[in-house]
């Protein structure tokens, strides 16, 4: 999967890929104070393309400890579980479920929005591939608006950027690919080489990707993310990130 981190103060987008084994689960957000965990399970394309096997998020799991709600979203179905009931919703119809300030809203074959008490919003976008496509598979995208209120203790591959890091990019120069200049990125005093690139973003126009220009961090976000990407592997779809 690829990640795009929007840094409003620096006015830049930073992107990186995480390539991990299919079946492994990555922690994306872990807010121990509010009791919120968001994880993504990796799936692979049907086969390698140009020698590379692409990976994606096949399942997104969300756990809201306070409300005792668990949401599991896959390209096949959406399951919402509370202490007493388990509900299955389908991507083939638009439906919303309101339960004590907890709103799960499915937009037919497009996205699921989870709104908690109106100050927290998470969006999962469905990417459907052609069923008989030789390589591509259905996968999911997760969008977390900057306004979503996580606590200061929040971590995870995305959650750690709740507090915007000090980032500057300078010394833009030609790289091996003339289309993609390289530059030096300084993050909280550490320096790394980044490459100019574009990534697809589906939030603005669902179903129609918008190209986002970003500075790409190589080696699974090494130097930009806190620690090593393998630190973010968790055992269960509803697990919290542990340092």
């Amino acid at each position: 999967p690829h990640f795009i981190i929007n840094l409003p103060t620096s006015q830049i987008n930073v992107c990186f890929n995480i390539d991990n084994q299919p079946g492994s689960i990555l922690n994306l957000v872990s807010d121990p104070e509010q009791g919120i965990a968001v994880n993504g399970k990796i799936i692979a394309a049907k086969k390698a393309k140009s020698g590379k096997l692409n990976t994606y998020f096949g399942t997104i799991g969300m756990y809201f400890k306070e409300q005792n709600m668990k949401i599991e979203i896959s390209p096949e179905k959406i399951i919402v579980k509370d202490a007493f009931y388990s509900r299955m919703m389908s991507w083939s119809e638009s439906i919303s479920m309101d339960q004590n300030g907890f709103l799960v809203s499915v937009k037919k074959n497009s996205n699921v929005t989870i709104t908690v008490n109106e100050n927290m919003k998470l969006l999962v976008v469905l990417h459907r591939a052609w069923k008989k496509h030789p390589v591509n598979v259905d996968f999911l995208g997760l969008y977390i608006p900057n306004e979503t209120k996580f606590s200061a203790a929040t971590h995870g591959l995305i959650g750690q950027f709740r507090i915007e890091p000090e980032v500057s990019v300078y010394d833009v120069r030609a790289g091996t690919d003339p289309e993609k200049p390289i530059a030096t990125m300084e993050k909280n005093g550490d320096k790394l080489t980044v490459t100019r690139g574009t990534q697809k973003e589906y939030l603005t126009h669902p179903g129609m990707p918008t190209s986002v220009t970003c500075w790409f961090v190589h080696n699974n976000g090494k130097g930009f993310i806190d620690g090593h990407y393998k630190d973010y592997i968790v055992p269960q779809i509803y697990s919290f990130f542990k340092r």
Binding site: Y85, S86, R87, I95, M97, Q99
Partner: protein, 639 residues
């Protein structure tokens, strides 16, 4: 639909009447059935003979045409207001130009019989059309055809064409007239279209190789369901829309259920034994978060427990033992029993003992009229209506022949419930259990279906108390001519501890392509489906109307709809007349005053001596109808 002599091969019969062909064709489009039965008969005898066209129509279906052709003279049908039709018919009768037509009730069918005295060498063709909206029950649509040609047919052909825009979940034919014919019933199934056909040769129809009698006599039953990828499906066609809502994958709502069981003397024997069997199984199926109790009544009212209890295994076992100990005797005090049940539910509710999103039901099982306490049925209805709360529902099950099913049905209708007749036989326990299964799993409550006001009109009932698993909510309406090409609907409902909102947008006329490429589609399905739903709802509303003015208004609306959509309803008759209007017949909708027993409604024969032999069931009623001149006006106009 005219007579043809394309086949001269003979079928030798004792009475020299040849059934030239017998064709049955059902076209099912989006669960709406249009059935045609056509029979061509020749009197080969050298003397006049009575020829009978005798078919069975499922209850709930509306007959919408009947035509005859006698030696080239066509009799065609038209729907008229009852008294208008009767007057025209009377005039014909006065001139001796009226023929016999008979409609009678049996348990779940109506018999339709036309009888003609036919001169030697004459050919007659009968053709009847009826329409029926299939109701989904326990996840299945059932279409039954009653194939009874009565004699060997040179050409016998049964075709059922099904077109379902949602695609089929499954299609099967569990009954094939008799098991011997199973191999002759062919099923062709595609994604959205299916064809079931049955075309036995003359020899295949025979009861034995040398017999001249037919073995073709029984039901052809088709069961199917459509794919349920979406909870609801909107179909827009020819200016009408149909909205089918049947969500699944929802956790069941807890229920509070009161079983009110008639244990009067008349229940003694098989009925009680079967009721106990059913109750044992029903109790077993209660879920731990269900609350229940049992009220059993004869002239006295008894309760297993005075309050609702949770369905733990201990309580269920105790209740089961209680039911098994019941010895039926005494009278029937329905009024007190129902009031007690309502009291128990209200008490539990007032004390806050009912789960917030639970569904409260009373299931009444009775086999007879009240004989003790309040006897006036209207007073019992009023007592129940004034005491019951709007969020409770009352379901009625009438066992056997002596039960006043109309009364039980009214009780259920007035109180958001369903009614069902249970036939008192070896199968009673299974029938009771099947009914319980229908209401045992409530999935949603307070369902409201909305459409943009500017886009639709004449929408049928759009709010419902409960939705049970396996059932289907159907709403229909008209599209306003100036409406946008897309129709949107929003359904709000309460599920277990959550509120749900379903939103659906469907493109108008999306079905055109599917239907254009299908030869066997009933093009008026949406229009007629809407009309049947509306008429049935108006009939139920009419039962509940409190003023005669309101009743009159509803009657007038039903009458107009029946005429516009060509349905025989309780307020219309089908007048069948020859091209010059000289000869007439009349078909009315039979009433169901006492349930199961057969009742002759219109009996008139141009040649009365050869009326069919009365069966043990019909004999008593038929004898009451003689002489026809006296009885007919009273029976026909008894509204």
């Amino acid at each position: 639909s005219v007579l043809s002599d394309d086949d001269e091969s003979e079928v030798f019969t004792e009475d020299s009447i040849t059934l030239h062909s017998y064709k049955v064709e059902s076209t099912i489009t989006s669960h709406f059935v249009n059935t045609m039965i056509r029979s061509k008969v020749v009197n080969n005898a050298k003397h006049p003979q009575n020829i009978v066209f005798d078919i069975q129509v499922p209850k709930g279906a509306f007959i919408n045409n009947f035509t005859m052709n006698v030696n080239g003279i066509t009799f065609s049908g038209s729907i008229k207001e009852k008294s208008v039709a009767r007057n025209l018919y009377s005039k014909a009768r006065a001139r001796g130009k009226a023929a016999g037509l008979m409609r009678t009730n049996s348990l779940d069918l109506e018999n339709f019989k036309a009888e003609l005295n036919v001169p030697p060498g004459s050919k007659v063709q009968f053709e009847i059309h009826y329409q029926e909206a299939l109701r989904r029950k326990l996840g299945v649509y059932e279409h039954a055809l009653y194939i009874q040609p009565g004699r060997l047919a040179k050409h016998l052909e049964v075709d059922i064409y099904i077109t379902e825009p949602q695609g089929f979940g499954f299609v099967n034919v569990p009954k094939t007239i008799t098991e011997d014919f199973a191999g002759l019933v062919k099923i062709t199934k595609g994604d959205k279209k299916a064809h079931i056909s049955f075309k036995p040769t003359l020899d295949e129809q025979r009861t034995c190789p040398t017999c001249s009698t037919t073995a073709v006599n029984g039901n052809l039953l088709v069961k199917y369901d459509v794919k349920r990828e979406q909870s609801s499906h909107l179909q827009v066609f020819n200016g009408y829309f149909l909205h089918f809502f049947a969500p699944d994958n929802l956790p069941p709502l807890p229920k509070n259920i009161l079983f009110v069981i008639d244990v009067s003397g008349s229940m003694w024997g098989l009925k009680m034994k079967q009721t106990v069997e059913a109750m044992k199984s029903i109790l077993e199926d209660l879920r731990p978060d269900d609350q229940f109790s049992i009220v059993d009544f004869n002239h006295n009212i008894r309760c297993w427990k005075d309050e609702l209890v949770y369905a733990s295994s201990v309580e269920k076992e105790d209740a089961s033992k209680y039911v098994q100990r019941i010895q039926p005797n005494g009278g029937t005090n329905i009024n007190e029993a129902l009031l007690r049940a309502i009291f128990i539910l209200k008490e539990a509710s007032n004390k806050g003992l009912l789960e917030p999103n639970s569904v409260s039901l009373i299931v009444l099982v009775s086999d007879g009229d009240p004989t003790v306490g309040e006897l006036k049925l209207s007073k019992i209805q009023k007592n129940v209506r004034t005491n019951i709360r709007d969020d409770f529902s009352l379901h009625s099950l009438g066992i056997g022949f002596d039960v006043d099913y109309d009364f039980l049905e009214r009780l259920a209708q007035e109180n958001h419930g369903m009614a069902q007749r249970i036939y008192g036989n070896q199968d009673t326990a299974a029938q009771l259990k099947e009914f319980y299964n229908k209401v045992s799993t409530p999935l949603l409550k307070n369902i409201v279906v909305n459409y943009p006001m500017e886009a639709v009109s004449d929408v049928t009932q759009n709010s419902f108390h409960n939705y049970f698993k396996g059932d289907e909510i159907v709403v229909a309406g008209k599209l306003k001519p100036e409406s946008v090409p897309n129709l949107m609907s929003i359904i709000n409902a309460n599920s277990a501890n959550a509120d749900l909102t379903y939103q659906l947008i469907e493109e108008a006329e999306e079905l055109n392509e599917l239907f254009e490429e299908s030869k066997h589609v009933f093009p008026d399905f949406a229009r007629q489906y809407w009309a049947q739903l509306t008429i049935n709802q108006l009939l139920a509303e009419r039962n509940l109307a409190t003023t005669s003015a309101a009743k009159r208004n509803i009657t007038q609306t039903i009458l107009q709809l029946s005429i516009d959509h060509h349905f025989v309803t309780p307020f219309t008759s089908l007048l069948i007349e020859s091209e010059n209007g000289n000869e007439r017949m009349l078909a009315d909708s039979p009433r169901d005053p006492k349930g199961g027993c057969c009742q002759t409604l219109v009996v008139n024969a141009r040649v009365p001596p050869n009326l069919p032999q009365p069966t043990p069931e019909t004999g008593a009623q038929q004898s009451k109808t003689a002489p026809p001149d006296v009885m007919i006006p009273k029976l026909v106009d008894d509204d």
